[in-house]
C-alpha cells in the first residue's frame, strides 16, 4: 500500500477504526448513558466529512486499479456521512423511547456507511460485490433492531432473504462478465470491450443480471415488493437511513459501472431501463394513493422517486447529455435526501410505542397544535411532489429538462403525470394536519425538531439558489466520463 493508496481511503479507514473503537468503548458506557455512544458516532462521522472535504478535486486510481477517488465519489461520500449524522439525530431519542437503545446500533450504522463509501470508490467488480455486502449486512441487523417486536424481526428476515437473493443475481452477473472479458476490473473490461475480444452473449447476460441485482437494491419496479414491508417494520430512523443512503449508493454504483465501463451497452439496454423507469414511477405513485400508514406511504414515495432517478439514467445513455443527466441525478439525490429525512423526522416525532401514531388519522390537528411541525411537514410534502419554492421542484425541473433534451419526451411526460398523481396523496397528509380536528400526541425532542425545522429551512433556502448546488454536482461528474 503506497501513500497515495492510503490517503485515497482515509475517510473509510477513519470511519471503520472509529466504529471499531466505539464498539469496544461502548462496553464501558453505562446503560443509562448510551446517548454518549450516539454523540461519539456523530463526531466520528463529522470527522469523516472533514477528511472527505479535503479530498475535493483529487483524482486518483489507487490499489492497482481497484479503487477510484474522484469528485463523484467524494460528493456521494459526503451525502452518506451527512445522512448518517441526520439518522443518528433521529435515533437519539427514538431508541430511548422505544426501549431498544443499544450502542451497537450506531456502530452498525457506521459500518454500513463505510461500505457505501467503498462502493462509490469501487473500480473493480470484486470490490463492488464486497462493498454491497458490507453495506447490506449491517442493515439487515438494523432492520431487526426493534427485537422482540415481531414486525421488526419479520422485516429483517424479508430484507435479508431478498437482499441475499439480489446479491446472488449480482454475483452471477459478475461471474459471466468475468468470463466474457477475462477481467473484473472496470479498466480491463473497457479494454477488452474496445478491442472486441469480449464474448458479447455472456457479457450482455451478465450485465442484465447485474441490473436485476441493483434493481432489487434500489427498489425499482418490478423488484420493489420488499421495500414497503421493510420500511414499515424497521425502526423508523433506520428506515429513513435506508430510504436515502442505500438508494444513493445503489444509483452511484449503477452510474459508475454502466456509464463508464459499459457505455455501448447502456444504449442497448436503454429500452429496458426506459420501461423500468416508467413502470417504477407509475407503480410507486399509484400504490401510494391507498396508503394510510405514513411509513408505508413514504416507502412507496421512495419507490416513485427511484423511478425519477432511473429517468436520469435513461437520459444519460445519450452521450451528448451524460454529464447533464448525471449532475441532475446528483442534484435530485440531494433534494430527495434532505426532504425525505425531514419528513421521516416528523414521522418519528409522532410515532408512539407498539407502532401506534403512524396512521393518517393520528396526524389530524397537528397543524393547529404544533404549527412549526405542521409547517415543516407542509414544506416536505410540497418538495416531494415537486411544487415551486422548494428544492424538490428544481430537482424535478433539471431532471425533466435533461430528459427532454436527451430526446425522451414521452418518458418526461410519464414523469410529469405521475408527479401530478403524487400531489394528491402528499397533500392529503397536509389536509389531515391542518383541516381535521384532532388531539395529536407529539414527542418533543431537541434534536428531532432541529432536523425537521433545519431541513425545512434548507429545502426552501436552497430553492432560492438552485444553481450553486447544481454547479457543485456538475463539477462532481466532470471526471466521471
Amino acid at each position: 500500500m503506497t501513500q497515495a493508496d492510503f490517503f485515497s481511503i482515509l475517510p473509510i479507514i477513519t470511519i471503520l477504526l472509529w466504529a471499531l473503537a466505539l464498539l469496544v468503548a461502548d462496553l464501558w458506557i453505562p446503560k443509562e448513558r448510551k446517548s454518549m455512544t450516539a454523540l461519539l458516532a456523530a463526531v466520528g462521522l463529522a470527522v469523516g466529512v472533514g477528511i472527505s472535504l479535503s479530498q475535493v478535486g483529487q483524482t486518483a486510481l489507487t490499489f492497482k486499479g481497484m479503487l477510484m477517488l474522484d469528485n463523484f465519489a467524494v460528493f456521494l461520500n459526503i451525502i452518506f456521512l451527512v445522512s448518517g449524522i441526520l439518522a443518528i439525530a433521529l435515533s437519539y431519542d427514538y431508541l430511548k423511547r422505544m426501549g431498544i437503545e443499544r450502542g451497537e446500533y450506531y456502530v452498525l450504522m457506521m459500518f454500513s456507511i463505510a461500505g457505501m463509501m467503498l462502493l462509490t470508490q469501487a473500480y473493480n467488480l470484486i470490490v463492488v460485490f464486497l462493498a454491497i455486502e458490507f453495506l447490506s449486512i449491517p442493515l439487515y441487523i438494523l432492520a431487526g433492531f426493534a427485537r422482540p417486536r415481531l414486525e421488526s424481526e419479520e422485516a429483517a428476515l424479508k430484507y435479508f432473504l431478498l437482499g441475499t437473493f439480489s446479491s446472488g443475481f449480482l454475483l452471477y452477473g459478475i461471474a459471466l462478465i468475468f468470463g466474457a472479458t477475462k477481467s473484473t476490473g472496470l479498466e480491463g473490461i473497457m479494454a477488452s470491450l474496445s478491442a472486441n475480444e469480449a464474448n458479447l452473449v455472456l457479457f450482455i447476460a451478465g450485465a442484465s443480471l447485474m441490473l436485476v441485482g441493483f434493481g432489487f437494491k434500489v427498489a425499482v419496479a418490478p423488484f420493489h415488493e420488499w421495500a414497503p414491508d421493510v420500511y414499515q417494520g424497521s425502526p423508523t430512523p433506520a428506515s429513513a437511513f435506508m430510504a436515502v443512503s442505500v438508494k444513493a449508493a445503489g444509483f452511484a454504483v449503477l452510474l459508475r459501472i454502466f456509464l463508464t465501463a459499459f457505455p455501448t451497452l447502456a444504449q442497448q439496454l436503454m429500452p429496458v431501463v426506459w420501461g423500468v423507469a416508467a413502470l417504477t414511477m407509475v407503480v410507486g405513485n399509484v400504490l401510494a394513493i391507498n396508503q394510510t400508514n405514513l411509513k408505508r406511504l413514504l416507502a412507496y414515495s421512495s419507490i416513485a422517486h427511484a423511478g425519477y432517478l432511473m429517468m436520469a439514467f435513461v437520459s444519460a445513455s445519450n452521450p451528448a447529455q451524460t454529464g447533464q443527466a448525471v449532475s441532475a441525478m446528483l442534484y435530485y439525490l440531494v433534494a430527495y435526501g434532505l426532504t425525505t429525512f425531514g419528513a421521516w423526522a416528523v414521522v418519528v416525532s409522532l410515532e408512539q410505542a407498539e407502532g401506534k401514531g403512524l396512521e393518517l388519522e393520528d396526524y389530524a390537528g397537528v397543524g393547529q397544535k404544533y404549527p412549526w411541525l405542521g409547517a415543516a411537514m407542509l414544506v416536505f410534502m410540497l418538495s416531494l411532489s415537486g411544487i415551486p419554492l422548494t428544492i424538490g421542484f428544481w430537482g424535478k425541473f433539471f431532471l425533466f429538462r435533461t430528459t427532454v433534451e436527451a430526446g425522451f419526451t414521452s418518458l418526461a411526460l410519464v414523469g410529469l403525470f405521475t408527479s401530478l398523481v403524487s400531489v394528491f396523496y402528499y397533500l392529503r397528509v397536509v389536509v389531515y394536519m391542518f383541516m381535521r380536528p384532532g388531539e395529536p400526541r407529539v414527542r418533543r425532542d431537541g434534536w428531532l425538531s432541529l432536523v425537521a425545522v433545519g431541513a425545512a429551512v434548507a429545502v426552501v433556502l436552497l430553492s432560492v439558489l438552485p444553481s450553486r448546488l447544481l454547479d457543485m454536482a456538475a463539477q462532481a461528474v466532470l471526471r466521471l466520463q
Binding site: 441475499t164 446472488g168 468470463g179
Partner: protein, 99 residues
C-alpha cells in the same frame, strides 16, 4: 472437458437456486437455495479462471465464501429470533406487515 459443460451445470444450479427461493416456504431451505445460487457463481468463476488462465476468479471465490458465511451468521440469528417469538418459521405465516 469443454467449457460449455461447466457453464451448463452452473446455469442449472443457478436456476434450481432461484426456484428454491421462490417456491419453498421454509426459510432454512430458502437459505440453502441461496447458497446454491452463490455456489453456482463460484463454479463459474473457477471454470472461467482455468479457461482464461488468470487467477482472479479463483481469488474471488474465497471472498464470496467468506461473505456468504457472514450472511449465514446474520440470517440464522434472525431465524432463531423469530422462532423464539412465534414458534414457527413458516414464511407464509409472516404476515404482520400488510398494507
Amino acid at each position: 472437458m469443454p467449457m460449455s459443460y461447466f457453464i451448463g451445470l452452473s446455469v442449472v444450479m443457478f436456476a434450481m437456486g432461484i426456484l428454491g427461493v421462490l417456491l419453498r416456504r421454509n426459510p432454512l431451505v430458502v437459505f440453502m437455495s441461496l447458497e446454491l445460487m452463490f455456489n453456482s457463481a463460484n463454479l463459474l468463476f473457477v471454470a472461467f479462471s482455468a479457461y482464461h488462465q488468470v487467477l482472479d476468479g479463483q481469488l474471488f471465490v474465497f471472498f464470496v465464501m467468506t461473505t456468504a458465511a457472514a450472511e449465514v451468521a446474520v440470517g440464522l440469528a434472525l431465524i432463531v429470533a423469530i422462532f423464539k417469538a412465534k414458534r414457527t418459521i413458516d414464511l407464509d405465516q409472516m404476515s404482520s406487515l400488510k398494507g
